[in-house]
């Protein structure tokens, strides 16, 4: 859809995972996001929903109260189809569908229009389980009914020009569906990656322009970042080029910040990195 809207800012609660439950509550995280002028939210279902997969009415009531209080828009519901849930065997197609269906209903109940549907993989190059087409196909009517879109995340070491992405696009085209799409994690665009741990293997990354042909299928992006400098530059990833490309192609989805750098467990550190990143994004998006 062509329009003049721009990408919007949000935050994934993953960013706070070093502090959650220790120095920050769910409400603290939502307050923090509101305080940096961001609106969109990603949660991780079996991390942030107390009582998952069956939260109490009291929890749900408090959830909606907090969204209202902090003017937060639920954007993406992170969840997993845990193919290796049981030792020694893969989940059957029916079990995978059942798990997916339960999350579709819960995502809808919590107000999320997009699901980050993480699929199980079978090898070192992250090839998804062989029956993914079957259970995603089974879930399309429920996704329609509950008004959600299922989006696997394209994350390094996967590159955008790859069989995995081609397979997803082919599936979307074949099904003629908007209920299945992509979440592009900006980590795939790194030009100056950080050595996050000793012995981290070198990875292949994608040029920013490789996202252009995929944009019709991209419902949300993970604004992955590792290191914000004090002059508001992300040192690993060409944010200027990425955001200029999204604006030029009138992509108007949410950029959900995902901090994956060091010191996540240092109180206030992730928040300080997020605030720096949101200065960068505000500038690139032309927000006052």
């Amino acid at each position: 859809m062509v329009n003049t809207e721009k990408p919007k800012r949000g935050v994934s609660l993953y960013s706070y995972s070093g502090e959650y439950g220790v120095t920050m509550t769910l409400e603290d995280m939502l307050a923090d996001i509101h305080d940096m002028g961001a609106e969109g939210l990603e949660i991780l279902a079996n991390g942030h929903i107390e009582g998952y997969p069956e939260p109490s009415d009291e929890w749900l009531e408090n959830w909606h109260r907090m969204l209202k209080k902090y003017q937060i828009k639920p954007v993406e519901y992170g969840h997993w189809v845990d193919s290796r849930r049981y030792p020694g065997r893969e989940l059957s197609t029916q079990e995978s569908y059942d798990s997916l269906l339960r999350d579709i209903k819960l995502a809808h109940k919590l107000g999320f229009p997009i699901m980050r549907t993480k699929l199980g993989v079978i090898d070192d190059t992250l090839t998804p389980v062989s029956n993914w087409r079957e259970f995603i196909h089974m879930a399309l009517p429920a996704a329609e009914q509950y008004d959600v879109r299922m989006c696997p995340e394209i994350h390094n070491p996967t590159v955008l020009k790859s069989k995995m992405v081609d397979d997803y696009v082919e599936f979307i085209e074949k099904e003629k569906t908007t209920r299945f799409g992509l979440n592009i994690d900006f980590g795939v665009f790194q030009t100056n990656p950080m050595q996050l741990w000793e012995g981290m293997p070198p990875m292949e990354f994608s040029p920013v322009e490789d996202i252009i042909p995929l944009l019709p299928y991209v419902h949300v992006c993970h604004a992955k970042f590792y290191n914000m400098s004090d002059d508001f530059i992300e040192t690993t990833t060409p944010y200027d080029k990425i955001i200029a490309t999204l604006i030029a192609h009138q992509w108007d989805g949410y950029l959900l910040s995902e901090y994956e750098g060091p010191n996540k467990e240092v109180p206030g550190y992730a928040s300080g990195q997020l605030r720096r990143q949101h200065i960068l994004m505000k500038r690139l998006l032309g927000e006052a």
Binding site: G21, V22, G47, D82, R84, R85, K118, V121, D123
Partner: protein, 136 residues
């Protein structure tokens, strides 16, 4: 709020049955960023002052229910909530002596979105879960 370390200082105590001390308990939280299904967990080993306890010597209590380590694999519908410490109860007649102990917990879980080889390595990524605890 939880203590930052995986192994919690609260919950470290001897346990008794019928007036006899039968063992001890230690509570620990997951350092992963999401809760896992019990069937994703691999059996834990608890090491106290160099002495190892594993297999049937250890049970898991999660949300008030206690599971033998061999039972975990069947409970794919029960989630270990991220913010709830699991309590490991270790069989050791007589329990532990009052005082300071070096406690280590080793365990792993499957992680379907990572290469299968990672399932057995998660214990290293999340470890070491070691702490000096004081038994009152």
């Amino acid at each position: 709020m939880l203590e930052k370390e995986s192994i919690q200082s609260r919950g470290f105590r001897n346990v008794s049955q019928g007036g006899k001390v039968t063992g001890f308990q230690v509570a620990f939280r997951s350092l992963y960023y999401r809760g896992v299904w019990l069937s994703q967990l691999r059996p834990a080993t608890v090491i106290v002052d160099g002495e190892s306890f594993s297999g049937e010597q250890v049970t898991w209590t999660i949300s008030g229910k206690t599971y033998a380590q061999t039972e975990l694999a069947q409970h794919g519908e029960v989630n270990w909530p991220l913010l709830e410490p699991a309590v490991l109860t270790v069989r050791k007649p007589g329990g532990l002596a009052q005082g300071i102990h070096d406690v280590e917990i080793k365990y792993s879980y499957s992680c379907s979105y990572m290469p299968p080889v990672m399932d057995e390595l998660m214990v290293q990524l999340n470890g070491p879960n070691k702490r000096q605890l004081v038994l009152v």
